[in-house]
């Protein structure tokens, strides 16, 4: 057995090590020592995240099953950063009465899903991709149902598990077609053998449907709002950022590596999917009263923008997509940091009305929310402007001007509902029972500070984009 194979899997092994350390700590640690469990987890995961930025070897392991390149390492680092920020936001929630004794479960389960996402990103074979996806999906259902005494949380868990089972079935169905048509599951072998025969295209469509569930593209988005609303806020943050990011990364690799020959087919699919995803996501977001549902639909439309980068099919498209996800991580998690802070201060309220007059009592929190929302809406000088601009440029490089235009009109709609939050915070007067002045915990502050830093810096530091651009590749 060649151990070099394992060296390529450095990050995965590191993650498993972190998982085991936490697991053992939880089992053998005394009640007293468990007081330090939370900070210990954050610190050890932060170290792991930092370690991810050290240079890693590139290559293929296990006969092409597992691929590691600079790009996959970068993608995993982005997922790590996002996970770390989510961890930092969980302090208040996990410190509550009914979750305190299950605190370690949250972290260990999350790490397992993260491992699954690593495998999705690094896969060089559709079987591997499927296994990664399953590893990532099933524990997520546990997370969604984590507040098991709350009806909605349990409901979210059930919905999620049923939908992911369905999407796996759809995807496997598509994969079986692909196998029947091509005779192999290895990406590198499939590339040249993919020609536009109907069976392959059918396989592609089903495969796309399966990943579409994960990415919550319209029309596969129906679970999103309910699950996002029911799941604990931090889990919602994790679902909307990490899970979605991993699915986007996996999609871009699979499409670019395997289906390069039938670009014209998947470009059409993506064209329609992104148009309806962005538009419907936006239109539904306008009507929401619950802030978590609101961000569910906002994240649906953001997924549509991600597709705009993928449609380009060149290195620029990949760079723009990865950059978009990175900026989305910071912007969306900043918003969720505020949401979870407000939720705990107001005793579990998640309606948009809970944000009325927030500025008067908590100016700093509303400033964070303002930055986040403007960044999501693509307003300069925040990073969201840059990432949107680049994703539009990527789509335009494939001469998709009409698509760019439709997406741009949608940014105006999205601005409308993002401004509704701004309006609630700054202009509307607080009703009775509004959130009074409070201070959020240190961990959450660190997480929001990190997000704000990301939102402000990512755009102006061009080296981030340029660095990504050097390691991207096209069809």
């Amino acid at each position: 057995m060649d151990f070099n194979n394992f060296l390529l899997m450095g990050q995965e092994i590191g993650l498993i090590a972190v998982f085991l350390i936490l697991f053992i700590y939880d089992i053998i640690g005394s009640e007293k020592s468990k007081r330090y469990f939370y900070p210990f987890t954050c610190i050890i995961f932060a170290i792991f995240t930092l370690w991810g930025f050290c240079p890693k070897p590139a290559g293929e392991a296990f006969g092409g099953m597992f691929i590691s390149s600079d790009m996959t390492v970068l993608m995993k680092n982005i997922l790590n950063i996002a996970t770390l920020i989510v961890f930092l936001q969980t302090f208040r929630w996990l410190d509550a009465e009914d979750t305190r004794h299950r605190r370690s479960e949250f972290f260990t389960i999350t790490l397992i899903t993260l491992l699954g996402m690593y495998l999705m990103v690094s896969s060089g074979n559709f079987m591997m991709l499927y296994i990664g996806m399953e590893t990532a999906s099933l524990p997520l259902a546990c997370l969604a149902a984590f507040n098991k005494y709350k009806e909605k949380s349990a409901e979210a868990g059930v919905k999620f598990v049923l939908i992911s089972a369905l999407s796996s079935a759809v995807m496997l169905f598509g994969l079986s077609f692909l196998y029947g048509a091509i005779g192999t599951f290895y990406f590198s072998d499939m590339t040249s053998r993919v020609v536009g025969e109907p069976l392959t295209i059918l396989g592609l469509v089903f495969f796309f449907g399966g990943l579409g569930f994960k990415l919550s593209l319209v029309p596969f988005h129906l679970w999103t709002a309910d699950v996002y609303e029911g799941a604990p806020t931090s889990v919602t943050a994790y679902l909307s950022v990490v899970s979605k990011g991993a699915a986007a990364f996996a999609l871009i690799f699979a499409i670019y590596k395997v289906f390069g020959n039938i670009e014209i087919v998947w470009q059409q699919i993506i064209w329609w999917l992104s148009v309806i995803t962005i538009t419907l996501g936006n239109l539904f977001a306008i009507r929401q009263n619950d802030i978590k549902r609101f961000f569910a639909f906002s994240s649906i439309s953001q997924a549509g923008y991600i597709l705009l980068g993928i449609i380009a099919g060149n290195a620029q498209g990949m760079t723009a997509t990865v950059f978009y996800v990175l900026v989305y991580v910071f912007s969306n998690l900043a918003a969720f940091g505020v949401i979870s802070a407000v939720e705990h201060a107001s005793g579990g309220k998640t309606s948009i009305a809970a944000f009325n007059g927030l500025y008067k009592n908590n100016p700093k929190l509303s400033l964070v929310m303002t930055f986040a929302v403007f960044s999501l809406g693509g307003i300069p000088p925040f990073a969201g402007y840059f990432s949107k601009f680049f994703i539009f440029m990527a789509a335009a490089s494939a001469e998709q001007y009409l698509l760019v235009f439709i997406a741009l009109l949608n940014t105006v709609i999205s601005l409308f509902y993002y401004l509704l939050i701004i309006k609630a915070m700054y202009i509307k007067n607080a009703e009775s029972g509004a959130v009074s002045r409070f201070s959020s915990d240190t961990y959450n502050r660190i997480s929001m500070l990190a997000c704000i830093l990301g939102i402000l810096v990512c755009g102006f530091l061009s080296c981030i984009y340029s660095g990504m651009s050097e390691i991207s590749f096209g069809i």
Binding site: P380, A396, Y401, L419, Y465
Partner: protein
Amino acid sequence: MNILSLFVAVPVLMIVLLFLCKEMKQIRTVMVTGASALLVLAATLTVMFIKERAALPDVEMLFVSSTIWYAPLNITYAVGVDGISVVMLVLASIIVFTGVFSSWNMNMAKEYFLWYCLLSLGVFGFFISIDLFSMFMFYEIALIPMYLLIGLWGTGRKEYSAMKLTLMLMGGSAFLLVGIIGIYYTSGHSSMNLLEIANNLHIPIEHQRWIFPATFLGFGVLGALFPFHTWSPDGHASAPTAVSMLHAGVLMKLGGYGCFRVAIYLMPEAAHELGWIFLILTGISVVYGAFSAVVQTDLKYINAYSSVSHCGLVLFAILMMNQTAMTGAIMQMLSHGLMTALFFALIGLIYGRTHTRDIREMGGLMKIMPFASVCYVIAGLASLGLPGLSGFVAEMTIFVGSFQNADIFHRVFTIAACCSIVITAVYILRTIGKILYGPVQDEHHLHLTDAAWYEKVSAVGLILGITAMGMYPSGVSEMISKSILPIIEKLSF
């Protein structure tokens, strides 16, 4: 550091300092110092520019500097100015300066001035940029603070107006952005620099046919192009004084400047081919705006519609595409910027005391507030084009230039636009007669005070600008007309 980048650096510094401020006094100190610094900077730039221009008469843009920003996408941070941008920078710095004095007693002053500085940052950045990416970035930076400035500190139907204004302008920028991306890719995706694209690259005519309307419309929305002007009356009427000043005075000029610098400069062929469509629309803006102003009774609405008419004249003159008319267009931007700002400053002053803007409820203010009323008369006379004030110079140049186009289509529109001057006289004189002269309508008004010192600073500063331009137009027109030559050369291919 390039002197031009200071125009961006000063507002950034002001924003940082404002964050540290605690008391009203500190805030005012920061704002007055910063705004004065900008004014001095603009004056210095003008002097330097005239000197440099004498030394290098053939160079299109001066003080050019370019730093690579996003190398893979050929995005640079590039700055440079010609006579037109210098004039616009001077205008912007005057209005930012006077605007500070017009918003002397604001509640939540710190937040207000934060957004105010961000707005001015965008405006200055826009005028110095010659890179499409950074230009568009500054353009959007200037737009978004309007939402909060109007929504929070405005009056009347402020939430509605703020949302309407923001969404319409953002809708315009959607057209604009697709145009900019189109320019980049169809010109061979090798540069975002305006000069580079204009002089060394070429956009094929079949692409110009869709990019030109997109960019012209995009900027035109901000320049109150009919039928996309509807944000302007509501927005101006609801905005607080200084924001109306800055918005009508400078921000609407971004539209005209952009149409000129991006749409026409980069796509002269399409401008020739499709200019007539927009000429019709701007012609409607000019006349329709003036007529609408006649029937309004709210002072701010009168002025807002008058702005639609006058800004329409800017786009109108640009589309005449000859040197005289274009010079007139730039002068009209300057003149309109100054006098509208003066109008809004005075309206804010009057409204702050009488608590009404309805002209039917006011009268005889000349006896009560002589200083403010005299200033109002001056603004009014400038607006209707009295010789010796800025309005006359600008409109005269525009109409002389427009009449040089000898075909019947242009002639008809020129004559129609000329008529708008008469209508302007109607609504200006009617307003002045109604609110300044005659008997006092409301006896409570008798106890009102005249302008405070800070309001006087604001008004006097603007009047000085208006008269200076009216008395010595050749200085301004010389700076402008030379800079228009490269564009005219492109148009007469």
